[in-house]
Symmetry: C2
């Protein structure tokens, strides 16, 4: 038969399965010979036995008695004795921390006799009877299921009657009377007396802990977190110690380093003659831990040593709870301390540099969220506490910003040019709003999801952004937004928290915690340890420079359509779209080519030979057509009449633009567009490579490929064009032509595509839309409800859906790699920058990921973390 109970001195932290988290921790500290109050742990095995039979075995009952006897010997106290009584706590402790289970009963062992002994021993009857009435209440609640409000109502009533406002006004006599009343309440509900036998108290408490493993909240929690039902919980029984027995007693909490900054040195606070609850309640102001050095130098010295032992032992900053009972120090708990992003980065680096942990471990201690937090300003924490959010949306791009609201890109730009800090507030954004978005401190939309236009562009720029604030009615025409009774007008000041998705009225101060030296050390270590490249989704000079600063290995996705929205360019684009004759279309394309050569020269110059993947035009032409207010000018510029232009615009309209005439389908039906772009790419590559004397291997990427013959057709068009440029320049350069894999059919037929594709890049945004049949724009209407009903665990646009989308990706890689090892696979969708997805992408054999510049640091970290 397996051992049912372990004394704290018998276990170690390796016994996690058997002793649970709390029990293993207490055993570990005991084995380090730290002053932990004595106690023992009933194993999870005993719990599972109980759940089988629904009764405590005779064996277990006897073993409990043996270990209580052992505890009595160690503490020199006796359980149920009327002099120097032993009191114990009972706590649950499973392998994983689990809300919903019975947690704690304190002061077991008190009864009508022992409470007198405790009053005498502490000289504090109020304390003793308070402990007793708490035991009755806790026991009635968690063991017997009596609602605690019966007791609390009585206490309120008693205090009102005696005109007390605070609990600490009650005297020992008061608490004694309350205790008597509590026993009556207990009697009334349970139809029996509150148990006076300490062992009866103890076994009933153990049984209640075991039974709570199967209560509905705990079961739900386990189901949601995929924790096995077969683990069971351990029970920890520990001698009580009290920090409120006099001026030589006290209680406190301390960190081994500063949790806000990561600076070394003990950091914490304590209260003399107090219990743990008092520190939390904040009734008295605690003292700084350094004062303990003066007040009880020996205790402080001992504590200092313990801090070092625990930090060295656990190889991380510790958060330690302690109690001093009559000058004797007890350690109640230690755990890895919570910390700010800033502190986490400093502590991880410091520990690695001191040799306590490896660089890999240091990187594992930092979360991608911490990296992101360190890149963006944050609102002052104190100010946030009192601020009431006006409205909430989806936290699309982190950061914190305050500014005046404007409802159009033009108004935002004007205000910015006049020196204001502006926030663009719209129903949604479109590529035409780009200039207004660039100058904004934050972007807020009432519609759209995490991958809407606003969200994607904002993340790319590192601009704070909230989308899908559905409670906000935005009327762009009237320049007004409304939620409930609050009306926002142009110029009103709001504050936007892109990390929480909350919008506030008025200004909230911000702080920026951006110590680039730490970040750059992390990136340096990350790049050295990671075995998957991280490229950037970028096409503007600013974005490319940011990406390179963060360590990007090249450009994974340069979106050429973003280049067509400048004032001059969009009109050439429109002329091209509205052209009736080949000549006028070619003129417009020739004008666009001049701009595009400049665009690509810039990309190649900045990246200086790093790989650059340039995607040819992707969106449908109707995204570029003139708006109503531009129709007149369109008529003048194209020398056509308004109705013809309207006719052409209506021809271009689509029912489901996502599934329409876009991507390489445009290249097939209007080859001249792709020819122009290809000419510009190759000319720019030839020019820059000659000027800078470097080799540039442009990677031209075809979007939305679904069929091999589509690729064959376009490759022929492109290669013919490329050859013409080579002839014209009398100079050649290697180049690659590749396909995006963003349509399920492309993944399914990737082996065929591989015959004519030099590289592949997964476009996980579109691939997710098509694999799920969710539109990014529309799914915001039901995805929140899907999450709430636990149908979706995650938004699949943020975390890769490995079972569906991932399966298609795996299929593609598996079909191609055996045919041709050299063909590289990239990922340029949103999940390319998502740490949670990166491990999967590595596993299936992706060669690089690509993401927006501000997501690169977190991606580099994630790659290093998954590259062990």
């Amino acid at each position: 038969m397996s051992k049912l109970i372990y004394d704290f001195s018998e276990g170690t932290k390796e016994d996690l399965d058997l002793l649970g988290g709390k029990g293993a921790n207490l055993a570990e500290m005991t084995s380090l010979e730290l002053p932990v109050p004595f106690g023992f742990t009933i194993t999870t095995g005993a719990c599972m036995d109980y759940l089988d039979t629904l009764c405590l075995s005779q064996d277990l009952l006897e073993t409990i008695k043996q270990y209580v006897t052992l505890l009595e010997n160690k503490t020199n106290k006796q359980f149920g004795a009327t002099r120097n009584p032993l009191l114990v706590s009972v706590r649950s402790g499973s392998k994983f921390s689990m809300p919903g289970m019975m947690d704690t009963i304190l002061n077991l062992g008190l009864n009508d006799q022992t409470v007198v002994a405790l009053a005498t021993a502490t000289g504090n009857p109020a304390f003793a009877y308070d402990c007793y009435r708490r035991l009755i209440q806790m026991y009635a609640d968690v063991v017997k299921g009596v609602d605690r409000s019966y007791f609390e109502n009585y206490l309120d009533h008693y205090k009102k009657e005696h005109e007390y406002t605070e609990d600490n006004q009650l005297t020992g006599a008061d608490w004694q009377r309350v205790t008597e009343a509590y026993q009556l309440i207990y009697m009334e509900h349970i139809k029996e007396k509150f148990p006076q036998d300490p062992f009866e108290q103890l076994t009933a408490a153990v049984q209640a802990v075991f039974a709570s493993w199967n209560n509905p909240r705990a079961k739900t929690y386990r189901r949601l977190h995929q924790i096995s039902d077969d683990l069971g919980t351990a029970v920890n029984i520990q001698a009580m110690v009290f920090g409120n027995t006099g001026e030589q007693s006290g209680t406190g909490v301390a960190f081994t380093r500063n949790p806000a900054t990561g600076e070394t040195g003990i950091f914490g606070e304590y209260l003399i003659n107090a219990q743990g609850e008092d520190v939390v309640a904040g009734i008295r102001t605690p003292k700084e831990i350094s004062q303990l050095q003066t007040e009880q130098p020996e205790v402080y010295h001992q504590f200092e040593k313990i801090c070092t032992i625990l930090e060295d032992h656990n190889r991380d900053m510790q958060d330690i709870e302690f109690t001093i009972e009559n000058g004797e120090l007890f350690i109640l708990q230690t755990r890895n301390g919570k910390r700010t992003a800033k502190a986490a980065m400093k502590i991880a680096i410091d520990l690695a540099e001191s040799g306590a942990i490896t660089k890999q471990e240091a990187l594992n201690r930092i979360t991608p969220e911490m990296i992101n937090q360190s890149l963006h300003p944050v609102f002052d924490e104190e100010a946030l506490k009192t601020a009431e959010p006006l409205v909430s949306g989806l936290p699309a791009s982190p950061g914190a910003a305050t500014g005046k609201i404007y409802f159009t890109a033009a108004a935002a730009k004007d205000a910015h040019d006049a020196g204001e800090k502006v926030i663009l507030l719209r129903q949604d954004t479109s590529p035409e709003d780009i200039e207004g978005m660039v100058v904004s401190e934050a972007i807020v939309t009432s519609r759209g999801g995490m991958t809407s236009h606003a969200a994607v562009v904002a993340r790319g720029m590192g601009t704070c952004c909230i989308v899908g604030c559905e409670a906000l009615e935005v009327d762009e025409f009237m320049k007004r937004a409304k939620t409930g009774d609050v009306v926002l007008e142009e110029g009103d000041v709001i504050s936007v928290n892109g990390s929480s998705g909350k919008v506030y009225l008025g200004k909230i101060p911000t702080t920026l915690d951006n110590d680039f030296s730490k970040l750059s050390k992390i990136l340096e270590w990350g790049l050295a340890l990671g075995d998957l490249k991280v490229r950037a989704n970028a096409e503007t000079a600013e974005d490319i420079q940011t990406a390179l600063k963060f360590g990007a290995a090249g450009i994974g996705l340069a979106r050429t359509e973003h280049m067509f929205f400048g004032e001059e360019r969009i009109w050439e684009m429109r002329k091209m779209i509205l052209a009736d004759t080949k000549a006028s279309r070619e003129q417009a394309l020739a004008n666009l080519e001049v701009f595009q050569i400049q665009d690509f020269r810039e990309i190649f110059s900045l990246t200086a030979g790093l790989p650059c993947t340039i995607r040819l035009l992707d969106p449908p032409l109707h995204e570029f057509v003139p708006k109503e207010e531009d129709l007149k000018r369109a008529a003048t510029e194209t020398r056509k009449n308004l109705s013809d232009i309207r006719q052409r615009i209506s021809e271009l309209e689509e029912v489901n633009p996502m599934l329409g005439h876009r991507g390489c389908r445009l290249g097939v039906t209007y080859p001249e567009i792709y020819e122009m772009q290809t000419r510009a790419i190759i000319k720019a590559a030839l020019e820059v490579s000659q000027e800078q004397n470097i080799q540039i291997i442009p990677e031209i990427m075809l979007p939305l490929i679904s069929e091999k013959r589509e690729l064959d057709f376009l490759r022929e068009v492109l290669e013919k064009t490329i050859q013409e440029v080579f002839n014209e320049y009398n100079f050649a350069t290697p180049y690659k032509i590749g396909s995006m894999l963003e349509i399920p059919r492309a993944c399914l037929t990737a082996d065929q595509l591989a015959e004519n594709s030099d590289f592949f890049s997964f476009g996980t945004n579109d691939l997710t839309q098509l694999t799920y049949g969710f539109s990014r724009d529309d799914s915001v209407k039901f995805i929140p409800e899907y999450m709430e009903k636990h149908i979706l665990a995650n938004d699949p646009y943020q975390h890769l859906d490995t079972q569906g989308v991932g399966e298609l990706m795996r299929t593609a890689v598996n079909k191609v790699k055996p045919l041709n090892q050299k063909i590289s696979f990239g990922v340029c969708g949103e999940v390319g920058g998502d740490p949670a997805s990166i491990a999967f992408l590595r596993e299936i054999g992706v060669d690089y990921v690509s993401c927006s510049p501000y997501r690169i640091p977190a991606a580099i970290l994630a790659v290093a973390q998954s590259s062990v």
Copy 2:
């Protein structure tokens, strides 16, 4: 070394690979001892040798000479002799008929001497020199590549100069002079004399045939039809016979049965003293074949016998070309004769019933198109010949109809009610137009593809329909349509050919060839031979009755949304959608439930125990919201103000409705809708099964499932509802709950779905949209160009894309069958009725297909054809 040449008496039709189609056919007829002009075939192997070396081997040249000698002996003529010269034809003949290759050179062996001999022998110098000048022209063209226009221009010039208008006005002397001029033209281009050596002519012609295997048109044709480049072509060299040597000569074409009706008896025509070309040219009126019986009774008797021999031998109706040279009958060619659908069905049945072929063979002789043709009226063929189409579109649903055009459903209905035959002409249709569609003879739209609303509904109803007539500008508001200079007004008469996609101005007479006795025999045989069930996509009484008449094995898809468009129902639907309170929504749903119970009672009553799959609500709610003109009534009915209603409508709008809030996503967010539908289904099933004392096992189908937890959630909702109905009725029935597989992710995770799905049905329409990323509504803008550029071989909505969509379907079946053999797989998308797709569906293990009622006969046929 393999044999290079086969005399016609040496081969059989089994030697198809070696002798090509034509050669094998001639050999076969020779082996039947039919009077075929003597000749021999140079094998495809010799062709491949030539293509390797690009010269005719010495071996081959000598073998040709040997076989020519043999031919001389058999014909008692001599090649190049100045008395009784042997003339031969050279024809290519590969395994598959292949346009683009060199076809025929006649009269080889003529030169300046032999032409005189021929003139003497026939007593017809005009004929002899005409033969010679034709040889020169054909030879120059196909052997030497001289454009035939040089010759034709000269002939035109000569005729003008001599004031001739027809060729037959030229005398022998004229043709001699033309021949001399042709020789000069030849000399001028080739720089050498037209070859006078008959062997030089012959070997050059053989070489030209071989070389033409690799000409670009032939290569393209092979690529498109997936014919191997390694087959090569054979060359047939045959003694010329002439039907124009006098009154005892003649030429003709005959069928062994009537190709229009299938009636037995020889059917054909002939011309005395004429060549084959003369019959085709139609200069003289041919005589009916029966007259030959009087004119040359022995020849006729011989021909009759030959017809019987050839039909018996080939086990099919034959199309025979013959020539009579001086009272001697020659058979030049026989092949299976082309026939109308009506004839095909009659002939196949007659042959099977006579025991000449098996029933399976009979079914294989009928194409699904023939079946479809027999179900719809067709335009009179003669009338069609002279009619000029006004505009063309996609042939969405076959048939032929004439009627007055109307631009709105309401106007169409009014006109129909007033007794007119109407044609609905619109930009596109929506479910609200249904009443107008039902009463129309034909439906024409200017937008949309083969699976647009108009197309799907029309096919379901068997109504003639053309969609995507992009050249037609339809203005529904002005009630006018325009194409070029032609303007169509309301009430104008047009004729619509749904089989060809052509629209004509005015009335064209139609005929209906619908002999149901033949069709029902074919369906009876088909159902007996097919091993895959065919169900119907149907929900109205009329459709269900049609489907059952055609042999449907049940309902594979009843679309409940079609049931909500009736006048009363749509308003309850709208009230439900616009409801603010649970109470008002529940009231609307309760009203709808009454209608739905009636709907489902009708379905279960008509099908009387056959399996019925009913799909719960699928389309997004915005398809049901009131139109602008109904807003006032909506406000009255719902007691809401207009702006609130507009607000709700705008909330429901979607960017990509195809990928939006629809299908089971509605069931998750508004479970009360699915609960209502489930209640109605189960109540109807219980009531009908009790009334009729039959077992009904309703199959409830959830559309657009993408994730197992979605299915789990909905199954729980449905089962709870079902249990409540069972309790209410105090009676239970077995039922099934299944998932549509129409989202790629559902196919990829079908093994998970199988845990909670009793059956699966592939929705190939949506699955194709998502697998390709094509929207059915929008892809019409580029699919035609994709077909033209050979990027797509077929419209994937009509023929299943086996490599992409089919691969996902195969994956799903393969994941599920090993876990649970009992789960059935159906197909309820458009391709379920497509004969070309059915073989694939059988192969991957689908259990049944389901299609619209009028496609069932063709599907039953296709199933039987693929079930060998």
